[in-house]
Amino acid sequence: MSARIGVVTFPGSLDDVDAARAIRIAGGTAVALWHGDTDLHGVDAVVLPGGFSYGDYLRCGAIAKFAPVMSLVIDKAQVGLPVLGICNGFQILCESRLLPGALTRNDHQHFICRDQRLRIESTDTPWTMDFALGQEIVIPLKNGEGGYVASEVVLDELFAENRVIATYQGENPNGSYRNVAGISNKAGNVVGLMPHPEHAVELLTGPTIDGVPFFTSVLKSLIGAP
C-alpha cells in the first residue's frame, strides 16, 4: 500500500484538489482531511494547500491555526510528522509558530501569478531529498502576500543551519528577504514553500513537471522511515 498523505481542506482552501492530484501522480494515496477533523486518520504526512483559508480577512493563516485539525498537525509535526505548507499553507505554518518569520504583502502591492525559477538550496528534508543540491527548477508562483520576512538573526540562522530550502532566481517576485522562497524547521520535517509545486506535475497543465520531486521525496522518505 502506498503512503497516505493527508490534504487539509479549510473553508477557502483552493489548491486542495491540485495537491491531491500531485500526490497521486507521485504514487501516493491522498487522504482528504477536514478542518474540523479531530483525528488525522492515520496519515503518514500532511500537506496544507494554497488558498485563502477563512477568506484571509485577518492576517493570512491567522484563523486557520485555530482549526481543530491544526492542533493535531502541530502536535505531530513537533514529533517528526512530515508537513508541507504551500503558499497559504506556508502562512499557516508561520502563524502556528512551526516555522519562524512571516509572509507579508508583496512589495509591489499586486497579486502576481508567473512561472518562477527557483534554486533548491537543501536536499536534507523529506520534501526535497529527490532533488539535486543547487538544481534549478521552474514552478508557478501565485500570491498576494508572499514576501518572506524575518529578523536578521533568524535569517542568518536559517542559512547557517541549512534551513532555506529554495531561493528565488532572477528577479525577486515579491520582496522576500534574501530571496527566500521556502524554509524548514530545525528538524527538517516541516517545510513551507511560497511557490506551487502541485501546479507543475503535468506538462499539459503546468509549465514543467519540476514539482513532482517534492511529492516523490516524501514518499521515498516514508519508505525509509521505521
Partner: protein
C-alpha cells in the same frame, strides 16, 4: 407605517414616487391595471426593478427573439435561451454551461467592487444550473490608455477581478483588453464563466411542488446595492447627479466559495427541486421568477430574512442586491438534510416561505400582507417596446471615408515597415497584457490547458478521457461602428476562428451586447443591425446562441460608445492533448498562411493608430470561416500541426511576432508573390490563420487544403539559428526577407513595456527570465 395591500386598497390616491424609481407613466398605469388598485410601496419597488431595462430586456426583447427564431438545428443544446445560462452537450454524458454578463456601470462608479461582483454574479448563474464553475474570463474595454480616467478605473477593475476570482479559486483563462476613446467615461467590464456537469445534474429555476419550502441561504441581506439595478443600469450618468456609490454592491469571495461548495453538495445529494441565484433585483427577482416558472404561487414571510442591518425596510429588503445569496426550493422531508449541509459549510440558511398553487406571489411582513401579485406579471410579462430606429445620418459619410493609400499615407520602405510593426506591437491594444493577466491565477484547479495570450482559453473537463472545452470572446467595435451588421458577424467569426485554431470544434455562442441608449433611434438601429447580423451568421455557421446579456445606456450625455457586441464562442475538443498552442517549437517547421489577404484597412489597428476610422470593415466570408475551422480542427486531431494563430488585429506581421515572442524562437519569412508587403503584413482580412507544419506532414497538410479548396501559402520557416548571420550572434531573430530583421529581445522589450509604463509596477512580467529559456 408599513404600506400593506389593505392600506393600498383604502388609499387609491396616495402619491407614489414611481418616476424616481425609473418607471414611466404608462408603466405605472399598467401596474395599477394588473393589480386593480395602486401598488403598495413594496410592490412598486418590485415592479420598478423587475421592469427596468436591465432585468426585463424591454427594449431588446423584440430583437433578441431572432436568436431563437433563427436557431440552427442542433442536438447539442440541452437548455436554451431563457434560463440562467444555456447548457450544451459535449459528449460522454458531460454538459457545459457558459454565459457572459456586463458589470459596466457599477465598475465605473466603484471599479474594484463593481468588477469583483461582476465575477460573483456570473459564477452564481453557472452554479444555479447545477454546474461546477471551471474558469472565468473578462472582456474589458476602457477609454484611451493614457487618459486620467482610464488610470483611475483600470487598476481597480483588474484588482477587483483578481481579488475576487483568485480568492474564489477559479482560473482566469483569457479575455480582452481594448482601449478606445469611445469608452471614455463608459468602460465595459464584462465577465464570463464556464462550468461543467453531468447531464443528470442539470437544474432549473422553478418552484415546483405545492407545500415545498423556499430557502434563502448564503450571505445576510444588507443595504448594499439597493437600487443598483434600476438606478445604475438604466440611466445615463449625469455629472450633477447625486453620488451613487452606495448603490454598488460589495463582494465577499470567501462567502461565494462556501456558497459554491454548499450548493454543489446539496444539488448532488438530490436535496433541491429548483434553484435560483440572487443577482439584480435580489429577492424580488428570485421569488417572482421561481414562482412564475413553477406552480405559479408562493407565500413568503419577509420578516424571516436574515439581515445584516436590522433597520432595513421591507422595500429595501426586496430590492437589496447584497451578494452571495441563493434561493432553493426543498421538499419538507429533505429540509433537515439541506440545513445540515449548509451548516457543514458554515452557510446561514432560513426557510422564508412555501410554494402554493394560488397563482399569486404573496409576501407578508409581520402579519401584514405587503405584496399580492401575479408572479408572471413581475418576472416575465413586463413591458415590451418596439423602439423606433433609423440609420444614423453620419453612417454613409463614415463608410465612404475609405483608408486608401491616398487618404492615409502608407509605409513603403523596409525601414518604415519595420517601424510600423514596432509601433503596432507596442500600441496599448496589441502590447503584452501580462501586466493584467499576471494579477490573475490561471493555474488553480489544475486543468488549464491554454490561457491568455493564447487565441482561446482551454480547460480539461474530464481528467480520465481528456475531454475539454475552449472559449474565446471577441469584438472589434470599430468594425461594428462602420457596419453593425457586419461588425457583429466579424466578432463572431473571430471568436469562432480562435476556438478552431486551438483545435476545438465550435459548438455554441453567448453574447454581451453593449450599446448606448435605446431611446436614441440611431443606437437602436445599431442594435437591430447587430442582432440580425449575429443571428444570421450563427444560423449559417450552425452554432446556436445559448444565452447572453444586453447592456444599454453606455453613454455619457449625447455620446454613445461604439456598438460593442461581444461574442463568446465555446468549442469542444475530444482530447486536450491534441490542442494547438500558438508557440512554435521545432526548427525547420514550415509557416503557412491559410486564406486570402486583400487590401482591407478600414477599422484596422493600423488605421486606429493613425487616428482614422472610416470605410467598410473587412468582408465577412462565412463559408470560408467554416472551411478554415474544419481544416484547423482536422489538422490538430490528425497531428499535422505544431502551432497555429488566428490572424486578426494587426494582421500577419503582428501574428507572426506574437508566435515568435510566445516561443522565444526566431523565424525567417518572406512576402508572397504578387502582394504588396504592407498589405500582406498589416491588412486585417478575415478567414485567415497561420499554421506551422513539420516537414514530415507538409505533403499531407497541403493535399488536404488543396482537396478542400483552402488556399495555403508557405511563407516562412522556424529557425533558431538566424542570429549569427544577421549580426546578432546568440540571439533569437525574426527576418523578413529583403525587408527587416528584428531580435526577439527588441520586440519583447517594446511589447512588454507599454502597460507597466502606463499603469505602474515593474515586476509583473509573465515570462520567465531569459536564462530559463536558454537551458
Amino acid at each position: 407605517m408599513i404600506d400593506s395591500v389593505n392600506i393600498a386598497r383604502e388609499s387609491p390616491d396616495t402619491e407614489q414616487p414611481w418616476a424616481d424609481l425609473g418607471l414611466k407613466q404608462d408603466e405605472y398605469e399598467s401596474i395599477k391595471e394588473i393589480l386593480g388598485r395602486r401598488p403598495t410601496s413594496s410592490e412598486l419597488a418590485m415592479y420598478s426593478v423587475m421592469w427596468s431595462e436591465h432585468c426585463s430586456y424591454k427594449s431588446s426583447k423584440v430583437h433578441l427573439r431572432q436568436f431563437g427564431d433563427k436557431a440552427p438545428k442542433t442536438d447539442a443544446l440541452l437548455v436554451g435561451i431563457g434560463e440562467n445560462a444555456g447548457v450544451v452537450d459535449i459528449g460522454d454524458g458531460w454538459a457545459v454551461t457558459f454565459k457572459v454578463e456586463s458589470h459596466n456601470h457599477p465598475s465605473y462608479v466603484e471599479p474594484y467592487q463593481g468588477a469583483a461582483t461582476g465575477i460573483g454574479g456570473i459564477v452564481r448563474d453557472i452554479i444555479s444550473m447545477g454546474a461546477r464553475p471551471l474558469a472565468v474570463m473578462d472582456p474589458l474595454r476602457f477609454g484611451a490608455a493614457d487618459a486620467p480616467d482610464t488610470r483611475r478605473v483600470l487598476p481597480g477593475v483588474v484588482a477587483g477581478i483578481g481579488g475576487y476570482g483568485n480568492c474564489l479559486g477559479l482560473p482566469n483563462i483569457g479575455g480582452e483588453l481594448v482601449f478606445d476613446e469611445s469608452y471614455a467615461g463608459n468602460p465595459l467590464v464584462n465577465a464570463l464563466c464556464v462550468g461543467s456537469m453531468k447531464h443528470e445534474d442539470i437544474h432549473l429555476a422553478s418552484a415546483k411542488g405545492v407545500d415545498n419550502l423556499v430557502v434563502l441561504y448564503g450571505a445576510r441581506t444588507g443595504g448594499d446595492g439597493i437600487g443598483g439595478v434600476s438606478v445604475l443600469a438604466s440611466e445615463t450618468f449625469d455629472a450633477n447627479g447625486p453620488a451613487k456609490r452606495p448603490s454598488v454592491q460589495v463582494g465577499d469571495p470567501f462567502m461565494e466559495k462556501l456558497l459554491i461548495e454548499a450548493t454543489l453538495e446539496v444539488l448532488h445529494a438530490g436535496l433541491v427541486e429548483g434553484i435560483q441565484d440572487l443577482g439584480g433585483a435580489g429577492i424580488s427577482c428570485a421569488t417572482s421568477e421561481l414562482a412564475s416558472n413553477g406552480e405559479g404561487g408562493m407565500q413568503v414571510y419577509l420578516d424571516r430574512v436574515l439581515l445584516r442591518d436590522a433597520s432595513l425596510s421591507p422595500e429595501e429588503i426586496l430590492m437589496s442586491e447584497s451578494q452571495e445569496r441563493m434561493c432553493a426550493v426543498v421538499t419538507p422531508e429533505k429540509i433537515d438534510a439541506f440545513m445540515q449541509l449548509c451548516k457543514k459549510w458554515e452557510v446561514e440558511a432560513v426557510v422564508i416561505g412555501e410554494v402554493t398553487d394560488t397563482g399569486r406571489l404573496v409576501i407578508d411582513w409581520y402579519g401584514d400582507t405587503i405584496v399580492d401579485v401575479p408572479p408572471r406579471s413581475v418576472a416575465h410579462d413586463g413591458p415590451v417596446y418596439e423602439r423606433p430606429f433609423h440609420r444614423p445620418s453620419w453612417q454613409d459619410a463614415l463608410q465612404a471615408d475609405t483608408p486608401t493609400g491616398e487618404r492615409l499615407p502608407r509605409p513603403s520602405t523596409p525601414d518604415a515597415l519595420k517601424h510600423t510593426l514596432l509601433d503596432l506591437i507596442s500600441s496599448p491594444n496589441l502590447a503584452s497584457k501580462s501586466w493584467v493577466t499576471s494579477q490573475y491565477d490561471r493555474y488553480v484547479l489544475g486543468n488549464t490547458i491554454l490561457a491568455q495570450p493564447e487565441d482561446a482559453g482551454m480547460i480539461r473537463v474530464d481528467e480520465e478521457s481528456g475531454l475539454g472545452v475552449a472559449i474565446s470572446t471577441d469584438c472589434n467595435s470599430r468594425f461594428a461602428k462602420l457596419d453593425p451588421y457586419a461588425g457583429a458577424q466579424l466578432a463572431l467569426v473571430e471568436s469562432y476562428r480562435n476556438i478552431s485554431v486551438a483545435g476545438a470544434k465550435p459548438l455554441a455562442v453567448t453574447n454581451c451586447l453593449n450599446f448606448g441608449s435605446p431611446e436614441d433611434p440611431e443606437v437602436m438601429w445599431q442594435f437591430a443591425q447587430a442582432t440580425t447580423g449575429l443571428a444570421d451568421a450563427c444560423l449559417e455557421l450552425g452554432i446556436p446562441v445559448t444565452g447572453g446579456n444586453v447592456s444599454f445606456y453606455n453613454q455619457t450625455g449625447e455620446n454613445a460608445i461604439s456598438p460593442t457586441p461581444v461574442v463568446g464562442v465555446l468549442g469542444v475538443i475530444n482530447n486536450v492533448e491534441h490542442r494547438t498552442p500558438m508557440a512554435w517549437a521545432g526548427d525547420g517547421d514550415l509557416i503557412y498562411i491559410l486564406g486570402d489577404t486583400a487590401d482591407e484597412f478600414a477599422g484596422s489597428e493600423w488605421a486606429h493608430l493613425q487616428g482614422h476610422l472610416g470605410g467598410l470593415p473587412p468582408k465577412v466570408d462565412l463559408p470560408a470561416e467554416k472551411l478554415l475551422s474544419e481544416i484547423m480542427v482536422a489538422a490538430s486531431h490528425e497531428g499535422m500541426i505544431t502551432a497555429a494563430h488566428d490572424v486578426s488585429d494587426g494582421g500577419v506581421g503582428v501574428a507572426v511576432t506574437e508566435m515568435a515572442l510566445r516561443a522565444n524562437i526566431g523565424a525567417r519569412f518572406w512576402i508572397p508573390e504578387n502582394i504588396d508587403p504592407f498589405v500582406f503584413l498589416f491588412s486585417e482580412s478575415t478567414a485567415r490563420a497561420i499554421a506551422v507544419i513539420p516537414g514530415t506532414e507538409e505533403l499531407r497538410f497541403s493535399e488536404m487544403c488543396a482537396a478542400r479548396g483552402m488556399r495555403a501559402t508557405r511563407f516562412g520557416v522556424v529557425d533558431s539559428g538566424l542570429g549569427v548571420n544577421s549580426g546578432h550572434p546568440g540571439e533569437q531573430v525574426i527576418v523578413c526577407d529583403s525587408q527587416f530583421t528584428l531580435t526577439i529581445d527588441q520586440l519583447r522589450e517594446v511589447n512588454e513595456a507599454t502597460l507597466p509604463a502606463l499603469f505602474g509596477g515593474e515586476k509583473c512580467s509573465a515570462q520567465v527570465s531569459e536564462s530559463y529559456w536558454d537551458q
